[in-house]
Amino acid sequence: MEKPFRRIFRLVALAAALALGACKPSGFSEEEKRIIGQLRLSELAKLQPDPTNRHADEPLAAAFGATLFFDTRLSSDGVVSCATCHQIDNQFQDGLPLARAIGITDRRTMPLADVAHGPWFFWDGRRDSLWAQALVPLEEAREHGGNRTAYARMMAERYRERYERIFGPLPDFSGLPENASPLGTEAERAVWTAMGEAERDAVDRVFSNIGKAIAAFERTIAHGETRFDRFAEAVVAGREPEGDARFSALEIEGLKLFIGKANCIDCHNGPRFTDDHFHNTGVPPVEGLPDDRGRAQAVAELVGDPFNCLGKYSDAGPEACEELRFMRRDGAELERAFKTPSLRGAAARPPYMHSGQIATLEEVVDHYSRAPEAASGQSEIGGVIFTDRGKAALIAFLKTLDPG
């Protein structure tokens, strides 16, 4: 009597199991495998030459850049170096919501691993090369607080030999004012304006070379393989992951969410887990800080930057400046848009977002789940409903991207 029903029940159960098989934690669909493959560190292309910096891949320049990176004399108070915020034992960041050097800035320090692969620098992409980026904190009053004339003199006085071996003879800086810069204090700006054009150009040349040496060093900072990479290599090769490459059911669930329903992969894609673009994700402004419109307010500064790819201190011809020439210059999408950060190592470096607005990964997932409206412009995130287990899974997966 029961048999036909049992058979039907069994058939239905089998069909359901087969259908669910595509979502079985240990099994990935071909499409999932393809996406997982794209995220592997081994997929990261060899770092391309930087045509704007002819010294970018010279070991001498990188070594000199490393010295400069850690030299606290490159600051007005003799205490701050690049490494004050970009800490070598801390993923080259500082773990603070807002960077602290001479003063407190308005933004979170960014980590440096493989940063040279991206076309834009800073959270808003207001510089288009690593060397042009490195120059900005050197003159920012709340960071190094120095000025380019003082830095140029310092090269002549303290680093002449090392500088000249890379960049050629330094000009005669004997009559150069002690402190002058087009971006400094009122007094420094006045002195800068009073200098002759040739003298200003000579200082700018040396200043840009300081950035080029620092950039050459920063280009050597790379990500290490993570548990995720070992897992993904096995998945792509069709092997069973072994040892620490084995993922827990929760981690697999998190990975599936990441590349699937949670849509993280839309922006956090490729081996660096970033699309190198700018997005408004409705991150709230910080009370007490100046209004921060991100990319919308960065474009004009980037175009006007004398150290950009098209400027006279770039070693590239205009044909190499495609990023700058074809970048999106206006439109509502730039409003409060910030660069997608890499997620490699992100679990180990709270707080999150461009001004450290969000303290923990749990709250980051909550933010993407709630998808609040942006203070201005339009948030791109749609809101994903996570179960508690889904939230835990996503976080467990993100931890597999930690170094070590």
Partner: protein
């Protein structure tokens, strides 16, 4: 007995229906529809031109800045060599535009034009729209690209 079996059957069928509906929903929410027109050659909207497009280098990849070649001809196949082409586009499912401002950097012969500065920063369904202005008039052609 029969009643119990029927209940089991109904419950089982219900579960199967939910699973299948879920699978379908996941499929349709995550992928553009299968009947999306992916042709790379077509008549422009008002039929003024025959427009063909192709990335300058295959395979098409997500991420890098790259160029496309747009070929413009009259409906009877004669090359259009004095067209002005502007580019727009975006991701219809994400309601955002292109991440860059691609531009036609000139005619390279035989009605072919190089469009530089294209980037697809996300996987999924993209639309590239080409507005063509030539002596025969202004017309548009829209192409779907799936990455």
């Amino acid at each position: 007995m029969a009643g119990k079996s029927r209940t089991i059957l109904i419950v089982a069928a219900g579960i199967a229906a939910i699973v299948i509906a879920g699978m379908l929903a996941m499929h349709f929410l995550s992928a553009p529809s299968d009947d999306l027109d992916l042709s790379r050659s077509k008549a422009s909207a008002a039929g003024l031109y025959r427009v063909s497009v192709a990335p300058e280098a295959e395979p098409l990849r997500q991420g890098p800045l790259h160029s496309w070649i747009v070929t413009v001809a009259t409906p009877d196949g004669a090359a259009v060599e004095d067209a002005r082409i502007t580019v727009d586009g975006g991701m219809p499912q994400h309601s955002h535009g292109l991440p860059t401002e691609p531009q036609s950097t000139g005619h390279i012969g035989d009605g072919r034009y190089r469009i530089e500065g294209v980037r697809f920063n996300m996987g999924g369904w993209w639309v590239l729209k080409f507005a063509i202005e030539a002596p025969a008039g202004r017309d548009e052609a829209e192409f779907n690209v799936v990455l």
